[in-house]
């Protein structure tokens, strides 16, 4: 499992810091024209797959715009007879989703900052600084990746309960402030590909280790830091189990838990307003899609670093 610790991963040209942009297209592109007809099956399968992938999403959008009356008609149609953009106003005026959204933001932002800074610190130390025990700490870091979260969930709950943190955001935010095995591994791999000449030159200029981190490592590892930030956002924005365990007071629900609670609180025998729930689902979905959309170019470099993992 830990054979990746045996030798520094070979630098691959595609992961050079600062080299961004789309991957080079494969050379088979030159054959496009003569083989177009033979590709018809490819298109048919891809179109079929695309429909399966995209249609449910279109349904979410169309339902979120439907009127309450239409939602219960049978059989359901994909093009609603109404386009009630007002549903998106109603989720803020008639439901608590606006409050939940704010709670999510309050939880997510410090988590991202903490995770990025702590993992950049540890990644820098593991990649660059010589100290007794460095190898051991690296192996321990990899070992934490193999510990499933539910192996520690009960004692962690007991600890936070003892601290009086039940019903606060602390049990959700604080664990993010220490970094995580995965983020640290990613940062370390990335930083190892930054030429050491920069550090040495900065040393000669009299920069401290913190100065090197601040002036050299941080600016050159932006793609890796962005990747860590995106992964933290993804985890924390969609986190359900954490809030379910620690937050009882509905005023403090983050969006994912709040949306779930909304489907549970409708009166017995009465189906929840699916159009509002789908609008809430969009509220949960759109920020995530946007983060991926704008973070794509960083993620590509991050994925390349990941590609060097040897399990």
């Amino acid at each position: 499992m830990t054979s990746s610790s045996q030798a520094p991963a070979p630098a691959r040209s595609a992961v050079r810091p600062g080299l961004r942009g789309r991957p080079a297209s494969t050379s088979t592109t030159t054959r496009r024209r003569p083989r177009l007809r033979s590709r018809i099956p490819v298109y048919v399968i891809l179109l079929f797959g695309t429909v399966l992938m995209v249609l449910p999403l279109l349904w979410m959008i169309s339902t979120s715009l439907a009127s309450t009356k239409y939602v219960t008609t049978f059989p359901p149609r994909i093009i609603p007879n109404t386009f009630q953009v007002a549903n998106y106003g109603r989720i803020f005026s008639d439901t608590d989703l606006g409050k939940y959204l704010l709670n999510s933001v309050v939880i997510v932002i410090p988590s991202m900052v903490g995770q990025v800074v702590a993992s950049s610190f540890a990644g820098y130390a593991l990649a660059r600084l010589r100290a007794p025990g460095r190898r051991v700490w690296f192996v321990i870091t990899l070992c934490t990746l193999m510990i499933p979260y539910e192996a520690t969930i009960v004692p962690t709950f007991v600890m936070f309960r003892y601290l009086g943190w039940i019903n606060t955001f602390w049990p959700l935010i604080v664990p993010q402030l220490f970094g995580s095995g995965y983020s640290i591994f990613l940062m370390r791999q990335f930083i190892m590909q930054i030429p050491t000449e920069y550090d040495e030159a900065a040393r000669l200029d009299g920069l401290s280790y913190f100065g090197i981190w601040r002036r050299i490592i941080v600016p050159l590892s932006v793609p890796a830091m962005a990747t860590v930030a995106i992964f933290t956002f993804t985890f924390q924005w969609g986190n359900f189990l954490g809030p379910l365990i620690y937050i009882n007071d509905s005023d403090k629900y983050p969006l994912a838990l709040g949306l779930y609670a909304m489907t549970q609180t409708s009166n017995v025998g009465q189906t929840p307003d699916w159009n509002l729930i789908m609008a809430g689902g969009m509220l949960l979905t759109v920020p995530m899609v946007m983060v991926y959309f704008f973070g794509q170019r960083f993620l590509y470099e991050g994925a390349n670093t990941l590609g060097q993992i040897r399990v």
């Binding site: 992938m53 359901p76 702590a118 192996a151 993804t234 994912a256 809430g280």
Partner: protein, 298 residues
């Protein structure tokens, strides 16, 4: 500047200062809770009274006690993982291969496949419980071709399949990893075999698969671990009240946070942890036979 010794010492101090947050994290979030889980698993504790030492009774109760749900949870989880993981793996490789062809609108196709995997699980479940409702969209479509659709997320016999459908819909992350790996395969390998007269299938077998094998292993291990640990989908769909979808983590959650049986829940955690470790080791051992690392000297 002082002597070289003090320089080395300063570097070591800097190392530990930079590592400090993470070292604290390792201790507080991993080391101590792991040991505590093990210790708690030998006790009976409801959070309020003093924990009682009960030895192995939690374990015997779980594995052989009367009316234990452990084996049911294990069976359900195994079923879910055994179908979802291979299906996702095969489909991810297949779609990545297709998306790697020189086709028009390639970027649009890729985005379409990736998009669902970025959606938070809670939103995915909201959407699919709407689509898979007994008289919902999917069953309406099935009705058009004369199939009487099941009550996907309600019927204990079908709920796992409904959950698997949601999992397959989110396969995009794997597709993207395989695409990146496909683009890393040097063209000259294919050109060389083409000169030898190898057909498409032969090329796939002797170049593509070996070159993808490290990523296949990575996705396989992550897929197995992820599927075994499934919680949010199951809980949102069933609230833990559907025997057909009682799985390991929801089973643990129910005992710890609904019944306050902290010792019993810890025993579940310990058994589950050991099982995941063993399974991972088996897969890794098995992978030596089929994973090919470039630059590896045999």
């Amino acid at each position: 500047m002082k002597g070289p010794m003090s320089g080395r010492k300063r570097e070591a101090i800097a190392f530990y200062l930079f590592m400090l947050p993470w070292i604290v994290g390792i201790l507080v979030l991993y080391a101590v809770p792991l040991v505590a889980s093990l210790v708690l698993s030998f006790t009976n504790w409801d959070l309020f009274q003093t924990p009682q030492w009960v030895g192995l009774r939690n374990y015997t109760g779980l594995l052989a006690g009367e009316g234990t749900s452990f084996w049911l949870a294990l069976r359900n989880t195994a079923y879910y993982a055994a179908i979802l993981v291979p299906v996702n793996l095969a489909m991810s490789v297949a779609f990545a291969l297709l998306l790697n062809q020189p086709i028009i609108l390639r970027r649009w196709f890729r985005t379409a496949f990736y998009l669902p995997s970025t959606i938070p699980v809670v939103a995915v479940v909201m959407l699919w419980s709407w689509l898979l409702a007994p008289s919902g969209v999917i069953n309406s479509i099935l009705g058009l071709v004369g199939i009487d659709g099941p009550a996907w997320l309600v019927d204990p016999a079908w709920v796992k399949n409904g959950l698997i459908v949601m999992g397959v819909w989110q396969l995009g992350g794997g597709v993207v990893l395989f695409l990146a790996a496909l683009q890393g395969i040097p063209r000259h390998l294919y050109e060389a075999t083409m000169l030898d007269g190898a057909g498409a299938w032969r090329q796939f077998r002797s170049i593509t698969v070996p070159m993808l094998s490290p990523i296949i292993l990575f996705n396989l291990v992550n897929g197995i671990i992820g599927a075994l640990q499934v919680f949010t989908q199951v809980y949102v769909v069933t609230q833990g009240h559907n025997a057909g979808a009682l799985m390991m983590v929801p089973f643990l959650y129910e005992n710890a946070f609904e019944f306050n049986k902290m010792g019993y829940a810890s025993a579940i955690a310990v058994i589950f942890f050991v099982m995941i470790m063993l399974l991972t080791l088996i897969v890794l051992k098995w992978s030596r036979r089929w994973v090919y690392y470039e630059g590896e000297v045999n």
